[in-house]
């Protein structure tokens, strides 16, 4: 026996075999002081507790389940307690039906209850099945002024909720910061923005840069450009993160370099009319958005978490851009009349950026990488 078990241990190329471990799905809704809900418990689990297969033939029938309804209700309710602001709520099983889940048929227990008051703080105590199977999990979905969820386990048998607290806040913030960081750490995007923004406080007159007169107009122009760029890359960023859009990275990066080159050159020799600039920014934004592929790590997260992360990241990127613009623009605006701004910053700056972009473009087209320069 010992050897056999040892041998079994050695079958370690263990693929995930059948089913997952035991779960129950507990849905609760709090409206005022009333509780409603439904608790789905696997028939296999109930059978281990109260013997549902009454005739022992290996088949649990609907008739057998109904005949054990009282025991089922009693066993279930022994493992669940809800309290509102520290005082117990009553809970009862209103009806028993069947429901199918991925790993078998469950008993669907309709819950009804009442709390002494409309709660500000709700507490769920869960102790179902853990004594028999510590790998059991209670998957709680609570509607209590918004949707919350919790996974109840032997080491987390209690879940507490305050009215109005946010579930996904921290995740959102994390990805928001990631987004901001991407603008500031990603040389490409930052330089592209700089290229677009530097001349925004100027305007062309006879082929020459001249200080813009109206601060308001400059501000509006900048806003239009940044908005167009933002909208566009939010679209493609989302598409790429959801893997609806897949483009070879090499060409995308080359295209990004090309957009920077164009933007830089445009600062030196007008290629794009100012009115058209937001459309161009939109087009370039589409390209830049694809470049963010892989940041969110694919769909490694549950859908709702992923949505929050995506939203956070998008907003973070935009936040980063707005921050960049907010820092640069007032400075640029205040020195726009200075000759050294036009000839010392905008022009040489654009030349420098243009050269870098050209270098990137050639490297990426030729599929080369220089350490530290790509």
């Amino acid at each position: 026996m010992r050897i056999a078990l040892g041998v079994l241990c050695l079958c370690l190329a263990l693929p995930a075999v059948a089913h997952k471990p035991s779960d129950s799905y507990l849905r609760l809704t709090v409206s005022g002081s009333d509780l409603t809900g439904r608790w789905d418990i696997a028939l296999r689990d109930l059978h281990a507790l109260v013997t549902l297969d009454v005739d022992g033939n290996g088949a649990i029938t609907w008739g057998e389940v109904q005949s054990r309804e009282t025991e089922i209700a009693r066993t279930a309710l022994e493992g669940l307690a809800v309290a509102a602001d520290g005082r117990s709520c009553t809970l009862r099983i209103a009806a028993l039906r069947a429901v199918d889940h991925v790993d078998g048929t469950y008993a669907a227990l309709d819950l009804a209850g009442r709390c002494p008051t409309a709660p500000r703080a709700l507490r769920v105590d869960y102790d179902f099945l853990f004594a028999l199977d510590p790998s059991h999990r209670g998957l709680l979905n609570l509607r209590f002024q918004g949707s919350r969820s919790a996974v109840l386990s032997p080491s987390a048998r209690t879940a507490e909720f305050e009215r109005g607290s946010v579930g996904f806040g921290r995740l959102f913030l994390q990805y928001f910061r990631e987004g901001v960081g991407h603008i500031w750490k990603g040389a490409d995007h930052f330089l592209f923005l700089v290229c677009l923004l530097l001349p925004a406080v100027l305007r062309r007159e006879k082929g020459e840069w001249v200080a813009a007169d109206s601060g308001w107009k400059a501000f509006v122009d900048v806003t239009k450009i940044v908005t167009a760029f933002t909208l566009a890359h939010a679209l493609t960023l989302t598409a790429v993160s959801l893997e609806w859009l897949r483009l070879p990275l090499r060409w995308v990066e080359a295209a990004v370099a090309a957009t920077i080159l164009l933007a830089a050159v445009n600062n030196l020799r007008p290629l794009i009319r100012l009115e058209r600039l937001c459309y161009v920014a939109f087009g370039f934004g589409l390209i830049h958005g694809v470049g963010y592929a892989g940041v969110l790590g694919g769909l490694g997260m549950p859908a709702a978490m992923f949505a929050v992360s995506l939203l956070g990241f998008n907003l973070g990127v935009e936040g980063g851009q707005i921050l960049a613009a907010a820092l640069l623009m007032p400075l640029a605006f205040s020195v726009r009349r200075q000759v050294w701004y036009r000839h010392g910053i905008v022009v040489p700056g654009s030349v420098l950026i243009g050269l870098m972009a050209a270098l990137w473009l050639s490297l990426r087209l030729l599929n080369l990488r220089l350490e530290g320069w790509s």
């Binding site: 010992r2 050897i3 078990l5 040892g6 041998v7 079994l8 241990c9 050695l10 079958c11 370690l12 263990l14 693929p15 995930a16 075999v17 059948a18 089913h19 997952k20 471990p21 035991s22 779960d23 439904r38 297969d53 022992g56 033939n57 290996g58 649990i60 029938t61 609907w62 008739g63 389940v65 069947a98 991925v102 048929t105 028999l132 199977d133 510590p134 790998s135 059991h136 999990r137 998957l139 949707s147 939010a234 679209l235 989302t238 893997e243 990275l249 090499r250 592929a293 892989g294 790590g297 694919g298 769909l299 490694g300 549950p302 709702a304 949505a307 939203l311 998008n314 907003l315 080369l368």
Partner: protein
């Protein structure tokens, strides 16, 4: 301005909710069968219930608890139902808080941890047991297995060698063969395995089956398809009923050989088992691509089924199943980005050839050849002999050199 992200987010969130809104129903007839369980007459299930009842009266009885846990683990292995592993864990709860539980309790606890791929925890127990009882055969075997999975091949071989003359010679040979074959001694491993087979014709069916699978896998890595095939055939024909793990290992081989129809034949009615459903779906995808009739519909329903199962596991918060998830994302859903994420996470805990192949394929498909570096390092550092892996590795380094 930011509506795109918000809209997508709202849609996704709505999907997440509706996906789990299965509708309850009242069956039409009392005779309707809702679920199948082991009948009361089933000896193993009956034994388990008896033991559980006795254990309830005397929960601190160590021998009883260990016997019950072992029985539960055997059922877990045979049925593939992880609930039984949970039952085994419950039996050990009187000793949960102890710093120094009894030896047998620790060994069972380590087995449970290993089943759940919590290798670090398993090693803590096994190291402690082997320090006090260096000749505990099962502890050595289990630790050797963990060392092999985590690519500590010399340590694995040392542990296996410690079993010589304490267990069946075939067990020792198979134990050593696996890590040896991954650290540059594949030929010798096959030879000694063949010799052990010849000399131990009376070994138990489980041992023989497992030794055949080991031989088959090593031969496959060395490119000896015919030898691998015949070894797999021997394994599945071994007396003792069918063994799900053997079937899956054989299926992986058949898929690598491009024999998708055979996979369909062998696994067609095993859809209850996640791993089997996955290989089935991969085979169906290939056949669909080759234009075989009717595959698209089968594939579509299996893909949905697998998706639902993976999501159910995710909801629990279990980190497991990363290897299978990566295979699913790569070969069935064709999402290299996601596949790469899971493959990398998987590689952090386990480093078997199948995991290496997965990471290489995902990195190549996702055009992130730099992500394949850990596998390239593993191959180089250990002298892994596997033609298929070498070819993939060349592609990955080639892609990398291209972008340098």
């Amino acid at each position: 301005m930011k509506w795109s992200g918000t809209v997508i987010g709202a849609v996704l969130a709505a999907c997440a909710v509706t996906l789990h809104a299965d509708e309850p129903y009242r069956p039409d007839s009392d005779e309707a069968v809702l679920e199948r369980v082991r009948p009361a007459s089933d000896p193993e299930a009956a034994a388990l219930r008896r033991m559980r009842a006795r254990l309830r009266e005397r929960p601190e009885d160590q021998r009883l608890a260990v016997a019950y846990a072992r029985q539960a683990l055997e059922l877990a292995r045979a049925t593939g139902d992880p609930r039984y592993t949970g039952y085994a864990e419950a039996a050990l709860s009187p000793w949960r808080g102890l710093a120094e539980p009894p030896v047998e309790v620790r060994v069972v606890r380590a087995t449970i941890a290993q089943r759940r791929h919590d290798f670090q925890r398993a090693l803590v127990d096994l190291n402690a047991v082997l320090e006090r009882r260096p000749h505990h055969a099962q502890a050595r075997l289990t630790r050797a297995a963990i060392h092999t999975v985590q690519a500590r091949y010399d340590a694995a071989v040392r542990d296996c060698s410690g079993l010589v003359s304490r267990t069946d010679a075939l067990v020792v040979a198979a134990c050593i063969a696996q890590p040896a074959s991954l650290s540059g001694r594949a030929e010798q491993a096959l030879d000694s395995l063949a010799a052990a087979f010849a000399s131990r014709r009376q070994a138990s069916p489980e041992i023989r089956r497992w030794a055949w699978v080991t031989r088959a896998e090593i031969a496959a890595r060395l490119g000896r398809a015919a030898e691998a095939r015949s070894a797999f055939e021997q394994a599945v024909d071994t007396v003792g009923g069918d063994d799900v793990y053997t079937e899956l290992a054989y299926a992986d081989f058949l898929l690598a050989q491009g024999e998708s129809s055979r996979v369909l034949e062998r696994l067609g009615d095993r859809t209850a088992v996640d791993g089997a459903l996955l290989r089935l779906a991969i085979a169906e995808k290939r056949l669909a691509r080759a234009g075989v009739e009717g595959m698209h519909e089968r594939l579509a329903s299996h893909r949905e089924e697998l998706q639902a199962r993976f999501q159910a596991v995710e909801r629990r918060g279990d980190p497991g199943h990363r290897r299978e998830r990566a295979m699913f994302e790569l070969h069935v859903r064709q999402r290299p980005g996601s596949a790469l994420w899971f493959a990398r996470a998987n590689w952090r805990t386990q480093k078997e050839p199948i995991d290496a192949r997965l990471l290489l394929e995902a990195a190549i498909a996702a055009e992130r050849p730099d992500a394949a570096q850990p596998v390239l390092d593993w191959i180089a550092a250990n002298g892994v002999e596997d033609g298929g892996l070498h070819a993939l590795a060349r592609r990955a380094s080639g892609d990398r050199a291209d972008s340098k």
